[in-house]
Symmetry: C2
Subunit: 382 residues, 2 copies
């Protein structure tokens, strides 16, 4: 097998882990309580400049991880945002030092509900504390400090990633010069919450959930987790995209009419549900969807006080066919930031792919990001 990374790739990469908080010096959580130790899995691409002024932090979405670009040893597929990050790409690793970290509450190397609770010696399960977006950001900030960086040239993220960027730049504008908030929301709607509520219900009513102690019981709520993923996937794509990809095409191995997999779209969802089981944890799904439900930063009238004193350059993007966090969500963010005197560039990107567009190399989208990063680079170019 030829494992030479293709041109334009950051090449072979590996994930590092660092302990950023300990039991003695724990992370203080927004809702009260503490968490420690906190380990964080992260990757970096490119080279930090001598002045440490070219760092870009990538915040991942609900089911992402630290592996945003390049190839792990022996892997045939690159990181999840490899079309964006690399030499010569819009987020150009010849210019920028790019950092991506797995979220706490997640399951790809950072401390989460399936990590060992030092108080019990077993997995936290539902004893893991409920998190807020601000808690995720506090851990990112500790990592950035650990890497010797005091100010990010930019932070970028889509969906839940964009929420982290919004919270971070609003709270600490001196730490984020440019904030890219993509296909995000500052306030989930009842419909958004409803979809996640049903997904959580499917997970928690799976007999193999065992009140969150499934690891100790030696089982896994595969059924509930795959149903949650199947349902979520419907909301990640536009209706038009599903029609274009599948329409009413029959599944090639269609059996007798009945309740199996008759249509191609059923096969696709089945595959998405099954593949998800290999890489995601049911408890992480609960914790991180709830983080999104609770996110409502502008409910606090003082939310933008810090940034009012020290403006950030914002890029807010939505996708025309996104019906999960559509343009209405982005417009609300833009309006609120502009009322706080922030310079905001906003674009609704034409794309037929719905919410998932933020992960794709949609031409006008990448062109917009490239222009924004080029401009940001002028602030620090040698």
């Amino acid at each position: 097998m030829d494992t030479t990374p293709p041109t334009g790739s950051v090449g072979l990469v590996s994930t590092s882990t660092v302990r950023l908080f300990t039991a003695d010096a724990p992370l203080h959580l927004e809702r009260g309580g503490t968490l420690g130790p906190v380990d964080v899995a992260y990757e970096t691409y490119g080279t930090l400049s001598p002045k440490a002024d070219n760092a870009v932090f990538v915040c991942h979405a609900l089911t992402g991880d630290a592996h945003a670009a390049g190839f792990h040893e022996g892997a045939s597929r690159p990181g999840w945002w490899d079309n964006l990050i690399g030499p010569g790409k819009p987020l150009d690793t010849d210019r920028f030092f790019v950092i991506c970290a797995n979220l706490i509450g997640g399951c790809q190397g950072s401390t989460g509900p399936s990590s060992t609770d030092p108080e019990t010696g077993a997995a936290y399960g539902l004893r893991f504390p409920v998190l807020m977006v601000r808690d995720l950001v506090e851990v990112h900030r500790a990592l950035v400090k650990h890497l010797g960086i005091t100010r990010l040239l930019a932070a970028i993220g889509g969906s839940l990633g964009g929420m982290q960027v919004l919270q971070w730049a609003a709270d600490h504008p001196d730490e984020v010069a440019n904030a890219l908030v993509i296909a995000a929301s500052s306030r989930l709607t009842a419909q958004n919450i409803a979809f996640s509520a049903v997904a959580r219900r499917a997970i928690m009513t799976d007999p193999n959930f065992v009140d969150g102690a499934y690891a100790q019981a030696g089982v896994n709520p595969d059924t509930g987790l795959s149903i949650a993923r199947m349902m979520a996937h419907i909301t990640y794509l536009s209706e038009g995209a599903l029609t274009e990809k599948f329409g009413r095409a029959p599944h090639p191995n269609r059996q007798e009419p009945g309740f199996g997999i008759d249509f191609a779209v059923e096969s696709y969802l089945d595959h998405q549900g099954q593949a998800f089981l290999e890489r995601f944890d049911a408890l992480s799904y609960l914790y991180l969807t709830r983080v999104m439900d609770y996110f409502d930063p502008f409910a606090d009238a003082c939310a933008l006080d810090a940034v009012r004193e020290s403006p950030v350059k914002w890029l807010v993007l939505s996708f025309a066919t996104d019906w999960r966090f559509g343009t209405d969500h982005s417009r609300r963010i833009v309006k609120t930031l502009e009322h706080a005197g922030q310079p905001v560039t906003f674009r609704e990107i034409p794309s037929s792919w719905g919410h998932d567009s933020f992960l794709l190399a949609v031409e006008p989208y990448h062109a917009t990001l490239r222009a924004f990063f080029d401009r940001a680079y002028e602030e620090v170019a040698p």
Copy 2:
């Protein structure tokens, strides 16, 4: 308790049952095979005219039943379309003889997968045959004949009900003078199928589904069926309606933050899921959602040959915020009918409530139905 039916109600009603096909003279199914005996539960309101020319058949949707109007003895809630059907209402029982029958494959008195299979003496379960819309219509036709009616003045239905009307009038235009097709589709999209596929998955992976033999096992797939219903309910309402009803309001009995019922919309969905268990059968949910997936009458180039010779007067209605079977679906029906030379009245009704609007007394909707029925009545008025 005062059980006097309110003014405008058809009053106290009860459901009748009739055996329309027997094991010896069974129903021949579109996909081959037979079903018999076939019992049908139905209700009627109003009086059949001496010429038997004032009958209107009401076709119910996925989870409806024969009890469309009036009150059952002791009940505090009327039938599911009581706002439409009654003396002086748009479907005026002082003028029309209204018939509504529970679908075969259903679970409210008509033969369905939980009925006894004469071959085994146990419930059919998954041995019940896969049905098509045309099979549902054949049973309606047999009931109409049984009632001494050769031609309906009108057939009306919303969602799956509208699909039955479309099939019936297209196949047998001499039996249906006026066809009212509301919030329906002639061809589900991949997204439509996807939502039902996940719902079926939730039901069939419930350990209490027992391969469809749950009744014999003395259990019921409550968990899967309630998840299916919760998910479907999200699609029945517009995003705006959910926002207007619930927004981000907390549930009044909100507990500690976590994964219970924190938001009002979660409580609503939970209630919908639980209430559904009291009145609906999991196997019926499988069979009747699949009926909808398979419905694609215009795929047959000869589908409209009969109606081309003998036009029907069509009323096709959609609701502006319906994202399950939105205006695109209705427009496709209208275009196809018009290409076949049919006189079609089409309106997109302004309503903020989404797909569920067809069940509600939305003013411009009921006004349109009233005008159409008034005009139809002129054809037969004494």
